[in-house]
């Protein structure tokens, strides 16, 4: 068992690209679900349309990078309105079903042969991150402490990612301390009561949906840029479910919980994954476990963890039990 390698990859995972991407997606989910009580199960679609909006603009149509970002942002807002207008007046579980369906539609269209000249089918799109890495201020080399270091490209993307996370957390902090955030939290509790006090509930829900989508879409940009590639199946429904797991792990309706939740989620996933595969190759586990099926065990644990959290600690690690939206009302 190479504990050294396991520890290094685990520590790197705590601040790595996946953590950044999932943290941004989860901050978005936290705004929608944690504060406003909206069950948006299509967060993956928001990341997807943003990433594809950018990638297609640059790679398919050879237009400038910043225009790609603008189109990605615009696509996210359009998606939020398309999803929100029909469903935000309906019950919470209707929104859940519609958003999950929409996310599947988006993914199927991206991967279809029919539109492969635009979206690239199941291979997706590459060759769009040149302009982004041209802005890289880091000289070639590795940056970090001892073995915990990254090359200049990863360092650049992680710098941008963590700055964006800091900005988003600041934004959420300011908003949730304000009367705007108060209306949102009240809607989560009982929207009829809020309506009876003269607030336009629909408008606030829409604002939350758009804001959460926009924060998530930053994660979509980073995901695409960090891998220098977009593929449709990165944005599957399971992505959204993991983002929910992260929010609940950290504790819904807490400013920093999605970030800490994402770090813990990836640290655990990478640590368990690496330890298990090392153990398999060292022959420490029964022959039932093989190199091929060991990956599944990690995600079994995710599912199990999500269930146990909701049953035994619905407030997550940092939440206040009296204040979260998940226990019995």
């Amino acid at each position: 068992m190479d504990w050294n390698a396991i520890l290094i990859t685990t520590v790197k995972a705590s601040i790595g690209l996946e953590t950044v991407v999932y943290a941004l997606a989860a901050i978005g989910v936290n705004i929608q679900f944690g504060y406003a009580g909206l069950l948006n199960f299509g967060q993956a679609a928001f990341l997807g349309v943003a990433a594809y909006g950018m990638a297609v603009t640059v790679a398919t149509f050879h237009l400038p990078f910043w225009l790609g970002i603008a189109i990605g942002l615009a696509a996210t807002i359009v998606l939020a309105f398309l999803l929100g207008i029909p469903t935000l007046r309906l019950r919470a579980d209707y929104l859940a079903i519609v958003t999950i369906a929409a996310a599947e539609i988006v993914r199927l269209v991206f991967r279809s042969v029919k539109f492969s000249s635009v979206f690239g089918g199941s291979d997706g799109r590459q060759n769009f991150s040149g302009d982004f890495f041209a802005m890289n201020p880091y000289a070639p080399g590795t940056y970090g402490i001892g073995p915990i270091s990254f090359n200049e490209r990863v360092t650049w993307i992680l710098t941008v990612g963590w700055v964006l996370i800091a900005i988003c957390c600041g934004l959420v902090y300011l908003l949730m301390k304000s009367p705007w955030g108060r209306v949102l939290k009240a809607i989560r509790e009982d929207e009829d009561a809020v309506r009876s006090l003269g607030k336009n509930v629909f408008s606030y829900k829409m604002q939350a949906l758009v804001l959460g989508g926009l924060v998530g879409c930053l994660g979509g940009f980073l995901f695409a840029l960090g891998q220098a590639s977009v593929q449709p199946d990165l944005f599957s429904t399971e992505f959204t479910f993991y983002a929910y797991t992260i929010v609940i792990l950290g504790g819904a309706a807490r400013v920093f919980s999605p970030v800490v939740g994402a770090a813990i989620f990836w640290v655990l996933l990478v640590f368990v994954g690496n330890t298990l595969s090392e153990a398999v190759s060292a022959g420490l586990l029964p022959s039932l476990f093989t190199v091929n099926n060991i990956g599944a065990v990690r995600f079994m644990l995710v599912g199990l963890g999500l269930m146990l959290l909701l049953i035994f600690r619905p407030q997550g690690i940092f939440g206040d039990k009296r204040e979260i939206a998940l226990d019995a009302r």
Partner: protein
């Protein structure tokens, strides 16, 4: 609180009702709310069918009727929580049909709910602040600049504190609303409604589920609303309470207004007696009657199942 129960406001309200006809839909001297031909159907069932109704400004009007008379549905329609199939109604001369609930509240017609909707995971103070109108900080962009809404927030807090003191909730100010007792929640809901600055307060069963010890205090708060110049329309089952605080009573049965009149004589009106007895409700039940009702309910259930099939 108010030692002399017949205050000038009450006297004025009573004077306005003096000599009025007892017919449903009778015209009032100064109506704040006028309802015309409002109809609501659920499938084949007509839940509400009110031909004409006027609510006198500055009075306390009670809306009573047997279970299933359509009182709550009528309330929901007037306040924009449910749509009407037909009809129209005006508040202060303003047409309100089709106006969404939050706009109705902004015009000054604020309601409470039968099942109290205290926002239990917000503190009592946050509940109160939520009621205030035209908050600058409720705009997304201004919310990001605390300086732009701080001062207004302080004013709102001050007003909320006054109200909390009046409703004897000031000690609970930083508690989560969920930790309050049923009666305290009713008080909080009423106080929160007052934060909106309403002209007409609509209370849906304000006494339901309230500890008898708190009833008197709630009653006096309702009377205070009239003293401050507001109009009150409330749904209630408890006839003692209706007799105690209302100036005028409207009786609904099977969706329609069947009678109106002053509280001390309305219950002896033949139409009202028929409505209550005919519906088998709110009257003492014998064992046979109970058995009969049970069977009726079962038959209804059976019929409904058949219909679904």
């Amino acid at each position: 609180m108010h030692a002399d129960s017949t205050t000038t406001k009450k006297a004025a309200a009573l004077a306005a009702f003096a000599g009025l006809d007892r017919e449903p839909g009778v015209a009032k001297p100064d109506p704040i709310l006028v309802v015309d031909n409002v109809v609501r159907r659920f499938g084949g069932l007509t839940a509400v069918d009110v031909a004409h109704l006027e609510i006198q400004r500055g009075s306390i009007t009670a809306l009573i009727g047997p279970n299933g008379a359509g009182k709550t549905t009528f309330f929901n329609q007037l306040t924009g929580f449910d749509s009407a199939d037909e009809g129209s109604w005006t508040f202060n001369g303003r047409q309100l049909k089709g106006v969404p609930a939050h706009r109705v509240a902004r015009t000054g017609m604020v309601r409470t709910f039968q099942l109290t909707k205290a926002l239990s995971k917000l503190t009592v103070m946050e509940n109160m602040r939520l009621g205030a109108q035209n908050q600058r900080g409720e705009n997304f962009f201004r919310a990001l600049v605390p300086g732009s809404w701080r001062r207004q927030e302080d004013e709102i807090t001050e007003r909320a504190e006054e109200l909390l003191e009046r409703f004897k909730l000031d000690a609970k100010r930083d508690d989560f609303a969920g930790s309050l007792s049923g009666g305290q929640r009713k008080l909080l809901e009423m106080a929160r409604a007052l934060m909106v600055g309403p002209e007409l307060v609509m209370l849906d069963e304000p006494m339901a589920g309230v500890n008898p010890a708190l009833t008197q205090s709630l009653l006096s708060h309702v009377k205070d609303l009239r003293e401050e110049g507001m109009t009150v329309l409330f749904v209630e089952h408890d006839m003692d309470m209706v007799r105690d605080i209302s100036d005028w009573v409207v009786v609904m049965a099977q969706g329609a207004v069947i009678a109106e009149g002053p509280p001390d004589t309305i219950m002896s009106d033949q139409r009202v007696v028929d409505a209550y007895l005919g519906a088998h409700h709110d009257a003492p039940m014998s064992a046979e009657e109970f058995e009969e009702q049970l069977q009726e309910a079962e038959a209804e259930l059976e019929a409904e199942i058949e219909e679904k099939a």
